[in-house]
Amino acid sequence: MNEDERGNWYLLTGVVLGIMLGILFAWVISPVEYVDTAPESLKDEFKDQYRVLIASAYVANGDLVRAKARLELLDEADIYLVVAEQAQQMLAEGGSVEEAQALGRLALSLGQEIPQPKITATAE
């Protein structure tokens, strides 16, 4: 068959093959390495450890602003709920009582900061 009659589809094949090789290299052989990660990307078990550490540090320094700033690094929707749940779970699973208490104290302090709905009496 003449070269011209065979068309140019082989070029597309080459590009597709190249893209596949490129992605294989970029994702499998030599993926981007993350060495400067943020706490939000930590594995769940390490996030739990991070929260315990925040709570232990809070018990030591009593600085709620700092504790909240640290908790916000974990990028969770409701930090109070997460800390309270972890404290309960730790107690239920027989974990360290001191650490569970630290988490409980932090959760309590965070809970007190949540604005409560005001109930006002209306005159009949």
Binding site: E3, R6, Y10, L11, L12, T13, G14, V15, V16, L17, G18, I19, M20, L21, G22, I23, L24, F25, A26, W27, P31, V32, Y34, V35, D36, T37, A38, P39, S41, L42, K43, F46, Q49, Y50, L53, I54, S56, A57, V59, A60, N61, R70, L73, E98
Partner: protein
């Protein structure tokens, strides 16, 4: 007026007819030149070039546009400022509970380096970053305690 001439002899040495062009048509002349060279190549060479273009596109996609995102990282991959704060939290907790075994256990997740090395590295960063004296003192206290333990372990009994 002299009309510029573009010599289109390609990198494979394929002799091409020179292209005459006006200055404003330089990009078009270059494209035409490239096209002439591409046409003169064999199918095999064009196929290899297509693969190379594809590889470049694939790498661009895999490294820049959509790189693998790690969401299951460990504390040892944390940025140095986060690692320093991690060490500070350990030092703060140690300041209250005095539990050295727990502090060493907590420091271990920051990597292969020795606990003393980790704390020293954190102190150096904290000093540069302008941490408060109180924070620095707590980290130094932890470092001193670790050093004492290290010395006790290393000192052979008579």
């Amino acid at each position: 007026m002299q009309i510029p001439v573009l010599d289109c002899t390609g990198f494979l040495g394929v002799k091409q007819a020179p292209i005459l062009f006006h200055n404003s048509q330089m990009p078009l002349a270059l494209l035409r030149c490239l096209w002439q060279n591409t046409n003169a190549m064999t199918r095999r060479v064009r196929f290899i070039i297509a693969i190379l273009i594809g590889v470049a596109l694939g790498l661009l996609f895999g490294w820049v546009i959509n790189p693998i995102e790690y969401t299951q990282t460990a504390p040892n991959t944390l940025r140095v400022d986060y690692q320093t704060d991690y060490v500070l939290m350990i030092a703060e907790a140690f300041h209250t509970d005095g539990d050295m075994a727990l502090a060493v256990h907590r420091l271990a997740v920051l990597g292969d380096k020795s606990p003393e090395g980790r704390v020293l590295q954190a102190i150096i960063f904290a000093e540069q970053a302008g941490y408060t004296d109180a924070d620095l003192d707590m980290m130094r206290n932890l470092s001193d305690e670790l050093q004492i333990i290290q010395n006790v372990v290393e000192t052979p009994e008579p």
